[in-house]
């Protein structure tokens, strides 16, 4: 009742001589409070899964984060304790490296062409195609590389095939982020360079690209983070291996053998009835989360130097 009293009460000129005192219970202030509380609540709900996932993975995975995990091979099903995912960690790094090696030069150069040299319709269509490609489910990319490289025995199940799948996955992300980073560089700066008698390629190399580099680096790290966590494209292409298949003694040949990866290890070990393997799956998940976290921090750090 008291609030409705307040609503109907006209403040006396003494209390509110100039009419600017805060009036509780006005329609505006109720609206303000309601929406603030509502949106705050939604924020909490949205954050809950994120916090729970990270907390759960950390709690379940942290007790197996020991030296063994990083140095030993995955344990067979009936081994009660010990073992690690050393080969899977190396496998993930190798395949992400292959993927980056293929997709970064192509992606960045394609984006430079799109942003700086292409004109009109072609650019629109290529951008559209890139958007479509980045929306293709990753398992389709796995099937595509399976059909292209594995089934045809060009590489068979191998680190190369896995790396190619990751490259296809990373390519649209890299093209898009690089394209956007380049377009953010103001037109005036390009004009200044061209106005100084620089050619277009000099303008791109000496001015536009250096200015966009921090933003491009951000895009690259995000692409790497995305690729490191992907499972579906690797299942049909890199398969998995219980043993060391990659060796520095014979790096080229060993790339043509099936290879383990963290994400496939999680996929294989998470749903088995053997506790030891389950624990390792949690630890591997923690590593994947850590990779995403570290790359995000890295990209933040890169953006810190952002110019435009």
């Amino acid at each position: 009742m008291s609030s409705s009293n307040q609503l109907s009460r006209t403040p006396s000129p003494k209390e509110n001589p100039s009419g600017i005192s805060r009036q509780r219970g006005s329609r505006q202030s109720i609206g303000e409070t309601t929406w603030t509380v509502l949106s705050g609540l939604c924020l909490v709900i949205a954050i809950i899964p994120l916090v729970l996932v990270i907390a759960y993975v950390v709690i379940q995975g942290i007790n197996r984060m020991d030296l063994q995990a990083f140095t030993e091979l995955p344990p067979p099903p009936l081994q009660d304790e010990g073992g690690g995912f050393a080969n899977a960690l190396v496998g993930t790094l190798v395949m992400v490296a292959i993927g980056a090696l293929i997709s970064v030069p192509f992606g960045v150069l394609a984006a430079i062409y799109l942003s700086e040299f292409s004109r009109g319709r072609i650019a629109t269509w290529i951008r559209f195609a890139t958007n479509v490609l980045s929306g293709v489910p990753s398992i389709l990319i796995g099937v595509f590389i399976y059909g292209l490289l594995v089934l045809t025995q060009v590489t068979g199940y191998s680190a190369i095939a896995g790396g190619c799948a990751l490259a296809v996955l990373m390519l649209p992300i890299i093209v898009r982020t690089t394209d956007e980073s380049l377009q953010i560089v103001p037109k005036q700066v390009r004009w200044a360079s061209v106005g100084m008698g620089a050619s277009r390629y000099e303008t791109v190399l000496r001015v536009v690209l250096p200015a966009a580099l921090p933003a491009i680096a951000t895009g690259l790290t995000l692409a790497v983070a995305r690729a490191a966590g992907e499972t579906a494209p690797l299942i049909f292409t890199a398969l998995f291996a219980q043993y060391w298949t990659f060796s520095l003694d014979n790096p080229i040949d060993s790339l043509f053998a099936p290879i383990a990866s963290l994400s496939v290890l999680v996929y294989n070990f998470a749903a088995v009835p053997y506790e030891n393997q389950q624990e390792l799956a949690w630890a591997a998940s923690l590593i994947l989360v850590a990779i995403v976290l570290i790359t995000s921090i890295l990209s933040r750090w890169a953006t810190r130097n952002r110019i435009y």
């Binding site: 200044a192 061209v194 106005g195 100084m196 000496r206 250096p210």
Partner: protein, 320 residues
Amino acid sequence: MGVRALLPTIELSRRTMTPDSRSNQSTDQDQNTDRQQSNDRQHHQGDDPRHRNVDRSGDLGETIFRTEDLNVYYGDFLAVRDVNMEIPTRKITAFIGPSGCGKSTLIRCFNRLNDLIESFHLEGCLYYHDQNLYGDEVDPVEVRRRIGMVFQQPNPFPKSIYNNVAYGIRVTGKKKDVDLDEVVEKSLRGAALWDEVKDKLGDNGLSLSGGQQQRLCIARAIATEPDVVLMDEPASSLDPISTLKVEDLIRDLAEEYTIVIVTHNMQQATRVSDYTAFFNAQPTEEGKRSGYLVEFGPTEQIFNDPKEEATKNYVSGQFG
């Protein structure tokens, strides 16, 4: 020569015009009004002895740019039309006029920067030292090396102050006998910025204040010792003190360079320029605005004794 004699050029004040060429043209009823107006204007200029002495230096010098019936298009849209003028060497020529009258569009034609705009094309002729700037044999990169530009917004490269100034020398291919340090110092001194930045040449150009950035851009433009410096509203984003500094600088630069400056500040035009071209905008059927040259002459004449009603209204502030 007949066509040239009809142009509203600054040379007219001392040229004896041939009566026959003039009367032929002015009796032609098919001519558009602009052409007639410019004819009338020339009668005035030719007849009026006052205009013989308006040039401050008393020497009209040679012409560096000459336009003939220049029309500038973006796609089908005619942005600026019927520009006929001669821009004198080592003088400051100001383009004034209301927004949307194509001053900036026109000035970018002089160093072929509009080439970067896809839909741009141009009709008519633009001569630079009697060579058609838009001829097939002309290399636009070479054009821009000789005709530098300073933009409305200060736009230093995200590089060190030193590298900003050295940029032009580097892209034009550094000669062995060029001492880059010397060029940088000379240019920064030329732009009245040296004393403020000499101890921090390695700092990023973007760390400077707006006025300093603009002077850095001027230093960058003069480092390659261009023939002409085009300035597109160089002081419009600066505070009054920086503006005065930049204006002083422009006057100093005119001793060595030809300067064409776009401004919509009329006081600025009277303060810095020797010659003024007034452009006006005309609404088109599509609701856009198409610009045209109304009057071109010595600054003093444009502001004190304009021949056109539109010019008079604009410079006296009665413009809608």
